[in-house]
């Protein structure tokens, strides 16, 4: 586990970087007064306070991540049936490839769970987590230590195929895998 100070610094750097990207073309921050419907005033978005004692460890302690890390998906996604978090027998070979690649090194694995757009947002977030955990359980059975794996559910927020219909939906019900060199 990294020190709190380091974590805090990285968080501030990340938030600062995001703020810069997000605010480029907007009017000055914190302008008071009223605006009519339609326009958006960015409030001054500061860093996030990380109070001591709230940072929680435990099994599957999560690594520090950037969005660039998540661009580096190295494996074939595992696909799911509609409204199901069950790993289909035909998808098992993909998990064996993931497990094989993690043997003999100390890489950490991020498992993302995703859903198609047909569910409501929070229910899909829970369903995506169950999919990620189903993959995690299989990988554990294949010999990967649970402490090396973390799950992220995006629900329906990050479709692989942003069109609509059966083909897109079947591509979006999936788990994605990112192996981190740390």
């Amino acid at each position: 586990m990294r020190s709190n100070v380091l974590t805090h610094t990285m968080i501030l750097a990340l938030v600062a970087a995001l703020s810069l990207v997000g605010c480029k073309k907007k009017p000055p921050v914190g302008t008071a007064g009223t605006t009519g419907p339609g326009s958006v005033t960015p409030s001054s978005v500061g860093g996030v306070d990380v109070p001591g004692g709230v940072t929680i460890g435990g099994p599957g302690m999560r690594p520090d991540l950037t969005s660039a890390d998540l661009e580096k998906r190295q494996f074939t996604p595992v696909y799911f049936d509609y409204d199901s978090a069950k790993i289909k027998p035909a998808e098992m070979a993909k998990l064996e490839v993931v497990a094989e690649s993690l043997k003999g090194n100390s890489k950490n694995l991020i498992i993302e769970g995703h859903c198609d757009e047909r569910g409501t947002a929070e229910y899909n977030r829970a369903l995506g987590e169950r999919r990620a955990q189903a993959a995690l359980v299989e990988l554990k059975r294949l010999g990967i230590d649970a402490s090396r794996m973390s799950t992220i559910s995006y629900g329906k927020e990050r479709p692989a195929d942003s069109t609509h219909g059966d083909t897109a939906w079947s591509r979006n019900r999936r788990c994605e895998f990112v192996a981190l060199d740390r």
Binding site: I11, L14, V15, L18, S19, G22, C23, G33, T34, T35, G36, P37, G38, S39, V40, T41, P42, S43, S44, V45, G47, V48, D49, V50, P51, G53, V54, T55, I56, G58, P59, G60, M61, R62, D64, L65, T66, S67, D69, D83, R118, G119, T120, A121, E122, Y123, R125, A126, L127, E129, R130, Q133, S150, T151, I152, S153, Y154, G155, E157, H164
Partner: protein, 396 residues
């Protein structure tokens, strides 16, 4: 009380027809003459007329079709007067002077709530705010606006945010943020903009809603396995696990007395609404049909209101999301649809009056916010905000 419920059902069933219901539920029509020809007067007239239109309990009418008539003026010193008179009896329902103030919209909303109070005896919604998720390209950020869509203010730069909920005193909002890639529960102080992490366990941290006393949060966490329901203190301490199932629990909402929590579980197949004691125990299943019920939102009408607490839900019927209500909270009851118009309608959240809902309507894969009067079934479109708006939460 029973008669009242029947009347709600009637109103809901015949949403397209002119509904005749008991006084107090019936829409009352007001001719808004406004506040004179000055710039301030014109602004006040515009905002008050729109408030009357959005109020649910009142409607706009021409003088010859109105039950009430409003007059007003802006005085030389900048002060404002407003009068509301009953057309037939000539009885004065409102006669009030307001000191001038720089914020015309705010003054107009205060006047509108006085008009609603004078005519209906109920607290209006014109001075409330709505939190929601603002779409900006691929990003989704937390924003807050006046209930009528004005004064939109962005409170996050996290790239992906979800499910805002208000503290009962209206000073803070708790929401789900992927600011560090993983879903965490953050709280933002609206006065200072300061944010803090309330939950960042391994896995899923989401679904937070404050208890009515503001002391605890109900949340969904997956730190012990599949997503389960927990409560925790608003300071992040005192975590208590409520459920232990093989399915996923999500979207908790507190009963008005804070003793129970309704939530979604798919433990027995498709997602349905369940109820559990705030300290845990055996969950009770509330809904069985339609086959997909999610996003419960428990209303908290003020004491003395003719509305009673209800749970709004998002059901899926024929591949479309529609909004329904559970009028009484008990096992195995049906969901009564209140909005099924062929569009996808989701994310219901109650106004403090327990009568109006704000929700997101999706058409052609683009989302906008609307208000719904559950008594009359009337929908009112809010101004478009950015590229899209979703997951609204009506503030206290």
């Amino acid at each position: 009380m029973r008669i009242l419920i029947v009347m709600i059902l009637l109103a809901v069933n015949v949403a397209d027809a002119q509904v005749t219901v008991r006084k107090g539920f019936q829409k009352r029509f007001v001719a808004v003459n406004g506040f004179g020809g000055t710039a301030l007067g014109a602004k006040l007239t515009e905002v008050v007329a729109n408030d009357v239109r959005l109020s649910g309990c009142l409607g706009l009418a021409k003088a010859d079709a109105a039950e009430f008539v409003q007059h007003g003026n802006v005085k030389a010193d900048g002060g404002v007067e407003c009068f509301v008179t009953h057309v037939v009896t000539k009885k004065m329902f409102l006669s009030k002077a307001y000191p001038g103030q720089a914020d015309a919209r705010r003054l107009a909303h205060a006047i509108s709530d006085d008009i609603v109070q004078a005519i209906t005896g109920q607290r209006g919604i014109a001075q409330t705010r709505i939190a929601f998720i603002l779409k900006q390209g691929r990003n989704k950020e937390l924003a807050v606006m006046d209930y009528d869509g004005a004064n939109v203010r962005q409170y996050s730069n996290d790239r992906l945010c979800a499910r805002p909920r208000w503290s009962p005193d209206g000073t803070r909002i708790v929401y789900t943020s992927y600011w560090q890639m993983f879903p965490d529960i953050l709280e933002v102080n609206l006065q200072t903009g300061a944010r803090q992490i309330l939950a960042r366990f391994p896995g899923l941290n989401t679904g937070a809603e404050y208890s009515p006393d503001g002391l605890r949060l109900a949340v969904t966490l997956s730190k012990d396995g599949n997503p389960e329901l927990y409560t925790m203190g608003v300071d992040g301490t005192g975590l208590r696990r409520l459920t232990n199932t093989r399915g996923a629990e999500s979207s908790p909402t507190w009963s008005p007395d804070g003793r129970q929590i309704a939530f979604v579980s798919d433990d027995r197949g498709s997602p349905q609404i369940y109820l559990i004691n705030r300290d845990g125990g055996e969950p009770e299943r509330l809904t069985v049909s339609p086959s997909y019920n999610t996003e419960p939102a428990w209303s908290r009408p003020p004491s003395g209101s003719e509305m009673r607490p209800m749970i709004a839900v998002t059901s899926r019927v024929g591949g479309k999301f529609q909004i329904g209500v559970l009028e009484t909270v008990g096992a195995g009851q049906g969901v009564r649809p209140v909005l099924a118009d062929g569009a996808d309608n989701e994310d219901p959240s109650w106004a403090p009056n327990g009568r109006m809902l704000v929700f997101a309507k999706r058409r052609n894969w683009s989302s906008r916010l609307y208000l719904l009067d559950v008594v009359t079934g009337e929908q009112l479109e809010l101004p478009a905000v950015g590229e899209g708006a979703s997951e609204p939460a009506w503030g206290p």
